[in-house]
């Protein structure tokens, strides 16, 4: 009897928490997500066009949206341009991957080893606020003007954020969860594997996202500086070429590409972040 009652109460509680909100069609939700973005784009394009029409600059210096997007469409059909995007993305992903590896290992070591923490714990957070462009002169002298120098700066830009995200995640694990892990018999590495690292994951993903942003910025700066020094022509280098030829249409078309890549990757991190926060119970069920 008591059991039946318990089961009855329990199942009702669950129904309340999992029932979807009524009256929100998927199409309507997609639209309410989409329209503010479309409106913002329309507003920016309108302001841009209005500036062009105002005659502030001749249109070879400041072309309007229409010629820029025509140029972009033409560029995207050009295999050299697509190759440039591919080269840049290869650099971005491989530099970022190395930064993730270095940042994660450094983060764990600093979290685990007290002496290391005292030595460079606060330096990690200081490094995060270093503008990565200041490393370029160093990289030049160390590696010469080549791809290695770009990687050096990308890694130096991204790794501290990744290590810092992991470190602050480890630092802010609820003490109660650690005690629970210890009561269950987890010690040392086991405690890290089963309790501390999973608990630090949301913060680690935050670090990954910030690390990506720094890697991407550093890479663009690096490619602009790299210029003709590498025959592997990334889109950052193509910006510099477009400037040399005073080809504003080309320049703006490339900036649109860089912006779109940034938005796409950022929204991927955003989706990952939401999945994890929902799973960890850090978001409301319908957020």
């Amino acid at each position: 009897m008591a059991t039946e009652l318990a089961a009855g109460v329990a199942s009702r509680e669950v129904v309340e928490t999992t029932e979807p909100r009524p009256g929100r069609l998927p199409l309507l939700r997609a639209w309410s997500w989409l329209w503010p973005k479309l409106a913002a784009i329309a507003l920016v394009l309108a302001a841009w066009q209005a500036t062009v029409w105002s005659g502030w600059q001749p249109d070879y210096v400041l072309p309007g949206p229409a010629p820029v997007f025509q140029r972009l469409a033409q560029d995207l059909r050009d295999s050299n341009f697509d190759l440039g995007i591919a080269i840049t993305m290869r650099r971005a992903f491989s530099g970022y991957a190395i930064a993730v590896a270095i940042g994660s290992v450094a983060g764990i070591l600093i979290a685990r080893i007290v002496v290391l923490r005292r030595a460079i714990g606060s330096a990690i957070f200081g490094l995060q606020s270093m503008p990565s462009i200041v490393w370029f002169p160093v990289a030049w002298l160390l590696f010469g003007i080549n791809e290695k120098a770009v990687f050096f700066v990308v890694i130096l830009g991204a790794a501290p954020s990744i290590a810092g995200g992991l470190l602050s995640g480890v630092d802010h694990v609820q003490p109660l969860l650690i005690r629970v892990g210890r009561v269950m018999g987890a010690r040392g590495i086991g405690l890290y594997r089963h309790v501390i690292l999973p608990a630090a994951l949301p913060s680690f993903v935050g670090g990954l996202k910030q690390g990506w942003a720094f890697a991407w910025r550093s890479l663009m700066a690096g490619e602009i500086i790299l210029g003709f020094a590498s025959r592997q022509f990334g889109i950052g280098q193509q910006i510099q070429v477009a400037r040399d030829f005073a080809d504003m249409e080309q320049l703006l078309a490339i900036i649109v590409v860089i912006f779109v890549i940034g938005v796409v990757i950022d929204s991927m991190f955003g989706a990952l972040d939401r999945v994890i926060r929902r799973r960890w119970g850090l978001l409301g069920a319908d957020a």
Binding site: A6, E13, T17, L176, L177, H194, A285
Partner: protein
């Protein structure tokens, strides 16, 4: 020699002149002083005391989470500890939390799933295997925590006000379930609460804790037949005497300091 052996077979848990102090605001705070108690195998003993009386400190020492300043605390066999909060790992499902306890105990992967299901069945949570903690109510989370403690296959279960944050009806039901599981399993349980009625409802014996420093001030053996009702007049009488005793201790503490 044989005397010692007999003792160790009878007692599941023994605490001998345990003292615990730590610095606090530049002064030495004595949380426990000369606490001595013994719990027999299969016994359910409740400790009742005001908040800040060092009850949780005692359980932490018994669970091996803290080292005492002086004295000895000894537990025969494995210990599990339940907190006032369920403290489930939020990224693991109900079954996942229990499976982790099984894994850390060294149970083979192939057996974990069935055993977790069985344990959830014992706390009446059939069908909730794949729920995440934040999808469960407070009472259900505490049931999962109980199942997880059972998964450790401990000989001694320490409970630190585990039902303190629950509503009266849920708590009542969990009392029944805890009593049933205790009877079935032959576990030794040391249950800490600040509620005298709860202590009398569950305990074979009730130890009354005095505060600052924490020590056992009084002991009551509860002879009422089980299952007991929280609302029965007999229980209320005993609980009333314990509450009076607690009040005396608090008055003495205020006058003393």
């Amino acid at each position: 020699m044989s005397n010692v052996l007999q003792l160790s077979e009878k007692h599941s848990l023994s605490v001998d002149r345990l003292t615990m102090s730590f610095p606090h605001d530049g002064r030495l705070l004595v949380a426990l002083q000369g606490v001595t108690l013994e719990v027999d195998r299969g016994e359910l003993v409740c400790i009742v005391g005001a908040s800040g009386s060092g009850k949780s400190t005692l359980l932490n020492i018994l669970a091996g989470l803290d080292e005492p300043t002086a004295g000895r605390a000894h537990v025969h066999g494995r210990v599990a500890l339940m907190f006032q909060e369920a403290a489930l790992l939020p990224w693991l499902t109900a079954a996942g939390n229990i499976e982790l306890a099984l894994e850390l105990r060294g149970i083979k992967r192939s057996q974990r799933r069935d055993e977790a299901r069985e344990l959830l069945h014992r706390v009446h949570l059939d069908g909730f295997e794949r729920r995440l903690p934040h999808e469960l109510s407070g009472g259900m989370r505490q049931r999962v925590a109980l199942a997880r403690a059972l998964a450790q296959d401990a000989d001694v279960l320490l409970m630190d006000e585990p039902f303190g944050a629950l509503d009266a009806i849920t708590r009542d039901r969990l009392h029944e379930e805890l009593e049933r599981i205790w009877t079935e399993s032959g576990l030794t349980i040391l249950f800490v609460t600040h509620n005298a009625r709860e202590a009398v409802r569950l305990g074979d014996r009730v130890l009354v804790f005095a505060s600052r420093p924490g020590r056992v001030a009084h002991e009551v053996t509860v002879d009422l037949p089980r299952p007991r009702s929280l609302d029965s007049p007999e229980l209320a009488v005993i609980a009333g005497r314990i509450t009076d005793r607690l009040k005396q201790e608090m008055t003495r503490q205020i006058n003393g300091n």
